[in-house]
């Protein structure tokens, strides 16, 4: 298991480096510059470029950048908040995005799995139809529609929760965004759990377990759920990343000072360092979550765990 994890971590680091390089190349080839002011003379531009190290050859700039990134130094913002360290911008915004994403994931997983399990156990009855209906709705309705609906009815009409993000009430402010964001994982996980569980319920080993005469709840917990979980964990990873990154629209609607909002702003302003940092954080989150999924997978599925231990 240790060897397996080490290998995965090394692969993850290498992948991140490649991503960083590609991002760097892309930004380098992009038209425009952070110093777009027409009043700047050629001399002044050269001075600015020299100050920020933009006059160096490409590879040297890249290596410098990687060195800094390792120290969590993403440089300074060129024009959103001039000369403010990007890392401190991230430090205030990232936790909010992650908090909302995780909350949505937890809610989505719990409700989604419950719906899926109930649908699978009561398949082809009205309960199943109801659960499936909810998931179809969740998949097909975009999250911003839900967000606007929630903002209007729950936030404005009922006045239960603040409509816009309120820094003095950080948790209450995240409830509506979490609800809006969790609908898609609910739907996805419910759908997936249902189909996976039906497959497991029809498998030979469940039939054998049934023929042992064990109680229904033991059968479900020990045999069905465990085998269903293996497949669910694989979809949970990408879903979680989607939640952490896909909350841009939701962040905008509820004015949440999160990462997604920052990235949109940075792209519009050609703020290289901020774009790079955001893109890097997204890639990092993605790869990190996938790594966790791989490890979890190994813990739950003995076919992977045992093979890696070496017999």
């Amino acid at each position: 298991m240790g060897k397996y994890i080490t290998k995965r971590v090394l692969i993850a680091i290498f992948t991140l480096l490649v991503i960083l390089f590609v991002l760097f190349v892309m930004l380098d080839k992009m038209p425009g510059s952070p110093f777009n002011d027409e009043k700047l003379t050629a001399d002044q531009l050269a001075l600015l470029n020299a100050k920020y190290g933009l006059d160096q050859p490409f590879m040297i700039r890249f290596i410098n950048y990687v060195k800094c990134v390792i120290k969590f130094d993403f440089g300074v913002s060129y024009n959103i908040q001039k000369n403010l360290a990007v890392s401190s911008m991230l430090a205030t915004r990232l936790p909010i995005s992650i908090q909302i994403g995780l909350q949505a994931m937890v809610v989505g997983t719990i409700i989604g799995m419950l719906l899926g399990i109930i649908a699978a156990l009561k398949r082809n009855t009205w309960i199943d139809t109801l659960c499936t209906g909810i998931s179809v709705l969740g998949v097909s309705v975009p999250s911003y529609v839900i967000a606007l609906g929630l903002a209007y009815f729950v936030g404005f009409k009922l006045g239960w929760f603040p409509i816009l993000y309120n820094a003095s009430k950080p948790f209450i402010s995240t409830i509506m965004p979490t609800m809006a964001l969790s609908l898609s994982p609910i739907a996805n996980i419910a759908r997936f759990t249902r189909s996976e569980m039906i497959e497991v319920l029809n498998s030979d080993y469940v039939l054998l377990a049934q023929s042992k005469g064990i109680k229904q709840y033991k059968l479900i917990i020990n045999h069905v759920l465990r085998n269903t979980l293996i497949s669910i964990i694989t979809v949970m990873g990408p879903l979680l990343v989607g939640l952490l990154t896909g909350s841009m629209v939701i962040e905008k609607i509820f004015s949440i000072p999160g990462l997604g909002y920052l990235m949109v702003q940075a792209i519009q302003n050609n703020d290289y360092n901020v774009v790079m940092a955001c893109a890097f954080i997204y890639s990092f989150l993605y790869i990190f979550v996938m790594l966790i999924v791989d490890i979890l997978y190994g813990i739950i599925d003995p076919r992977i765990r045992v093979a890696k231990e070496g017999e």
Binding site: K212, G213, I214, I300
Partner: protein
């Protein structure tokens, strides 16, 4: 194989069993009027091609019919220490909780898929022991080790902690057998236990089941389409076609004196080294669609010996002596005399000569 079986020794008795399945295309009558008795220590083989209802019959006994299946008629009586219990009248759940794994156990067809991939071998064997026998965890573990040894798995301590994927197909089937035997059942149902295994392992598994049956004096029901297996293990054979038993009798009666044209077909389609023909015989056509009501004898359209009456009236069961029962109009006293195919006659004569020396 005593000719006179004592009614007291019956362990299972199926009477006029009808089972049907609701499908999106209509109701499929999968089992029609099955009658069968199983005696203590006896081995019955239920033979037939795919879809003839072999598996459905035993799944009904175990209470593990698919959820769209239901028993319409008949009884399955299980004789449990002198008490007669009709399993049909019980809820499938109650059959499972009270009898499955404990008194009636089953070995499944494909050992590659019938063990839970996420649970150790040991825990899978201990599960029914802990469920049905009132023993401590340690006792259950000891018993599981003994079972592993009984089914011929070497180094049980090591295997106990392993997962199914670390075992070969033959070993997995031994584990499945160990699970089935874990609570000393009275009836062991083997649903094509060797079909998925390679030939060298097949014989060993059959030996093993036979050996255990002898040691523990349990009754075994084999479900198979392999007549080679039947010949090796069975005392009594029931041939099924389209949800009915069309011929049954003890092994000699079925193999040396078959009466139903379908049984002739089955026996003729067994590969044989010294046959004159170079083509392997196959019964023409395929099983009828049981969605439609079967008029007359279900086998009639595929039967070259079919009489006119076969297409109109379903044949009753004729007693042709001994334990031999045949559902074919050919056995009616007024029926024209029809002999079995010559090829088969020769083969049987040859077998008889070998047997009688």
């Amino acid at each position: 194989m005593s000719e006179k079986k004592d009614k007291k020794d019956r362990v299972l008795s199926i009477r006029d069993l009808d089972i049907s399945f609701d499908t999106s295309n209509g109701v499929v009558k999968a089992i029609r009027g099955v009658r069968l008795d199983l005696f203590k220590g006896e081995t019955i083989a239920i033979v037939g091609e795919s879809g003839s209802g072999k598996s459905v019959t035993v799944k009904a006994i175990m209470g593990i019919l698919a959820s769209n299946g239901h028993i319409d008629n008949g009884s399955i009586t299980f004789f449990d220490e002198g008490k007669a219990i009709d399993l049909v009248k019980m809820k499938p759940k109650d059959i499972r909780y009270n009898y499955c794994g404990k008194k009636i156990a089953m070995v499944f067809q494909d050992p590659m898929t019938s063990l839970d991939p996420t649970m150790t071998i040991g825990r899978q064997i201990m599960e029914p022991i802990l469920e049905h026998l009132k023993v401590s965890h340690q006792e259950a573990k000891n018993r599981a080790m003994e079972l592993l040894e009984l089914v011929g798995i070497e180094n049980p301590q090591k295997r106990f902690k392993q997962y199914p994927h670390q075992l070969s197909g033959g070993m997995r089937q031994r584990v499945v057998i160990a699970i089935a035997l874990s609570c000393d059942p009275q009836i062991l149902i083997c649903d094509e236990p060797t079909t998925a295994l390679d030939v060298t392992i097949q014989a060993k598994i059959l030996e093993l089941i036979k050996d255990i049956q002898y040691k523990k004096n349990i009754s075994v029901i084999y479900i198979t389409h392999d007549l080679g297996v039947v010949a090796k293990v069975a005392d009594y054979v029931a041939v099924m076609y389209a949800g009915k038993i069309i011929e049954k009798g003890n092994i000699d009666e079925i193999f040396y004196d078959p009466r139903h044209p379908y049984t002739w077909g089955l026996l003729s389609s067994m590969p044989d080294v010294d046959t004159d023909s170079h083509r392997l015989f196959a019964i023409p056509g395929s099983c009828p669609n049981l969605l439609e009501r079967v008029e007359g004898d279900a086998f009639a359209p595929r039967n070259p010996y079919a009489l006119k009456i076969d297409f109109k009236v379903e044949p009753p069961i004729f007693d042709v002596g001994g334990q031999h029962r045949v559902a074919s109009w050919l056995c009616h006293p007024n029926a024209p005399k029809v002999e079995m195919p010559e090829q088969l006659r020769k083969r049987i004569d040859k077998m008889l000569k070998e047997v009688r020396g």
